[in-house]
């Protein structure tokens, strides 16, 4: 990964292309980051100033009313707690499933290994579709149960393949063989040797699952119709998506609605920040893990 940086032999044309490259990258970073920055400053600004276009660079008329309104809403607090609960349980469940599947399938001598691999991989490309799956979930009594978010996903096959490859290539066979000669069972070697030696790839899996569960709302929309079970993004749907449709109609009717409209816009800015913040704060710290995960899965040139 760490390539030697070589600066000794490049000529003038190289230096100018370097400058162009850096400028281009700065511009792209600006394009990516600015929308988020704008939401952040708009969320702490006076909504009338936002409306008037005075908050392109810095906040204007600093206020935290938007955040107060967001946290005064009980359903948002419930949604937040639900999301945390679903993310924690879902991540543990998902990582355990991936491990339980990946380890046996990484053992070359396991009878039926090929058949079992195909059995899992098929589900990556073909599925029953929305309604047949829904009917099975309903039949198994999971509607309005938190487990509807985890069980129907089964094994995350893409992640399983990454972990399996890691087991095949990065766990020294000699250690496992030595333990088994000493009388350790397959299960003991898995728990005592394989799991501790695969912490790096486990971190990758934790990150992937965590992001997926935190941001998921569609599964909850279908399987958890009860308001009290809704995760944060689904709660925010009422604020972010539904109000907008009626507000855009209302603003054409009368000025009174337009005033109200501006206040709801402000709540929108703060709820966007509230929902996006946890992952945006965490991911830079775990960046090296998910990059590693892709290194493990990359096509070897």
């Amino acid at each position: 990964m760490k390539r030697k940086q070589s600066g000794q032999l490049h000529g003038l044309s190289d230096r100018s292309s370097d400058i162009i490259l850096v400028a281009l990258c700065l511009f792209i970073m600006l394009l990516v980051a600015y929308p988020l920055y704008y939401v952040l400053i708009a969320s702490v600004s006076n909504p009338y100033d936002v409306y008037a276009g005075k908050t392109f660079l810095l906040p204007s008329g600093f206020t935290l009313d938007g955040y107060k309104a967001v946290f005064a809403d009980k359903s948002i607090i419930t949604g937040y707690l639900n999301s945390i609960k679903y993310t924690v349980i879902g991540t543990v469940f998902s990582v355990v499933m991936v491990y339980l599947t990946a380890y046996p399938l990484s053992i070359k001598d396991l009878p039926g290994r090929k058949f079992l691999s195909i059995f899992f991989i098929i589900t990556m490309y073909f599925g029953g579709g929305l309604m047949p799956t829904y009917l099975v979930v309903r039949q198994t009594g999971l509607i309005d149960s938190m487990w509807a978010l985890f069980l129907p996903g089964g094994v995350a096959v893409g992640n399983m393949i990454i972990v399996r490859n890691f087991f095949e290539h990065s766990i020294p066979k000699e250690m496992i063989e030595a333990a088994e000669i000493d009388g350790a069972s397959k299960w003991t070697t898995f728990i005592k040797i394989v799991v501790p030696l695969s912490r790096s790839i486990m971190a990758v899996m934790v990150v992937f699952s965590m992001v997926a569960y935190w941001n998921d709302w569609f599964t909850a929309l279908i399987y958890l119709p009860g308001q009290e079970h809704a995760p944060l993004p689904l709660v925010l749907r009422n604020i972010l998506i539904k109000s907008s449709a009626s507000a855009s109609q209302a603003s054409t009717i009368s000025g009174g609605y337009a005033e109200l409209n501006k206040l709801t816009e402000m709540i929108k800015f703060s709820s966007i920040i509230v929902a996006a913040a946890p992952m945006l704060v965490i991911y830079p710290f775990v960046q090296k893990y998910f990059e590693k995960g892709f290194m493990a899965g990359a096509v070897k040139g």
Binding site: S6, P35, F290, E291
Partner: protein
């Protein structure tokens, strides 16, 4: 699972017979038990349940008790007034989306890979990953406030007051541009991982020969990326009919339906909202079949182009 001992290669493990080896490995089979059961229940039984597309499914009668109706639901779909519009919108939205969003991560990865200062390189990568970590719900919320006709960022900058989400002609642009914003940065990871494996001596040699940055990209980096690019292309093509349901669903308004009406949203509305289980399944099945055909066709074409990349 008695069927699991069928495909065993009998060569390894010191030539022990298969039955002995199964005894040795029973704990491994036990580990697989829950994943296999979950996969059968929630993946394979729904596949079996696809037959309700050819039946008139009634909850009270169950799958097997419901009456066969042949291709009735497919006929109904193909004769529905918006059928052609939905197929067209699905294909065009996916196609344009692929056309615009596929090359961008490759270009970005090639550019960022050329950056000399590691700290700056890391910073660029970190910033570009950010939008990927935001829920589509939140991204759509942002789009709604940015595109709002009164006080929306885009209208403020342009000095106009257009209600973009009510303009059918703007929908595809909104969908594709926001998709690029959210995932192009994330898309560079796989390419960066491949580029990181390139031997530094190639660059040294190229520099001594006087190759410019552009030439180094063209003759060293790009050829290394080709297998990865082909693989990603096959995977994207297999998803051509799977438009990002979530975003279309959240950005659809009555006024932009001329371009935003896609099959996936229709499947959801008919199935979950209107409880037309059989009809929804039939429409979804049609979508899946087209997808599988596309996957096979693209796989055939690309494997001819690049022999050394195997699929699955």
């Amino acid at each position: 699972m008695g069927k699991s001992n069928t495909a065993a290669p009998a060569k390894r493990a010191g030539g022990k017979p298969v039955s002995k080896r199964i005894c040795v490995y029973w704990q491994l089979y036990l580990m697989l038990l829950i994943p296999v059961v979950l996969t059968i229940v929630y993946k394979y039984i729904p596949m079996y349940g696809i037959q309700i597309a050819f039946r008139d499914f009634k909850s009270t009668r169950g799958i097997l008790g419901s009456e066969w109706v042949g291709l009735k639901w497919f006929q109904r779909f193909f004769s529905s007034p918006n059928c052609f519009r939905m197929i067209k919108n699905t294909v065009l939205l996916s196609f344009f989306s692929l056309l615009w969003s596929f090359p961008i991560p490759i270009i970005l990865a090639l550019m960022i890979n050329q950056l000399r200062f590691n700290k700056f390189k890391r910073t660029v990568q970190t910033v570009l990953y950010a939008p990927h970590f935001i829920s589509i719900m939140v991204v759509c919320g942002m789009l709604r406030v940015f595109l709002s006709p009164s006080g929306g960022l885009i209208n403020l900058i342009a000095g106009t007051s257009i209600d973009f989400l009510s303009e059918a002609s703007a929908f595809r642009t909104i969908y594709i541009a926001s998709g690029i914003w959210q995932d192009a940065g994330w898309g560079i990871i796989v390419y960066m991982a491949t580029l990181a494996n390139i031997d530094a001596s190639h660059y040294e040699a190229a520099k001594i020969d006087g190759a410019s940055m552009f030439q180094r990209i063209r003759y060293i980096d790009l050829p290394e990326l080709v297998p990865q690019i082909v693989l990603m292309l096959i995977m994207s093509a297999g998803n051509l009919m799977n438009v990002g349901f979530e975003k279309v669903f959240l950005l659809q308004t009555d006024l932009n339906k001329a371009t935003s009406d896609v099959i996936a949203v229709y499947v959801y509305q008919q199935g979950i909202e209107h409880a037309k289980y059989s009809y929804s399944t039939a429409v979804g099945l049609f979508n899946t079949i087209v997808n599988v055909i596309l996957l096979i066709v693209v796989n055939k074409i690309t494997s001819k182009i690049s022999e050394d990349v195997s699929f699955v």
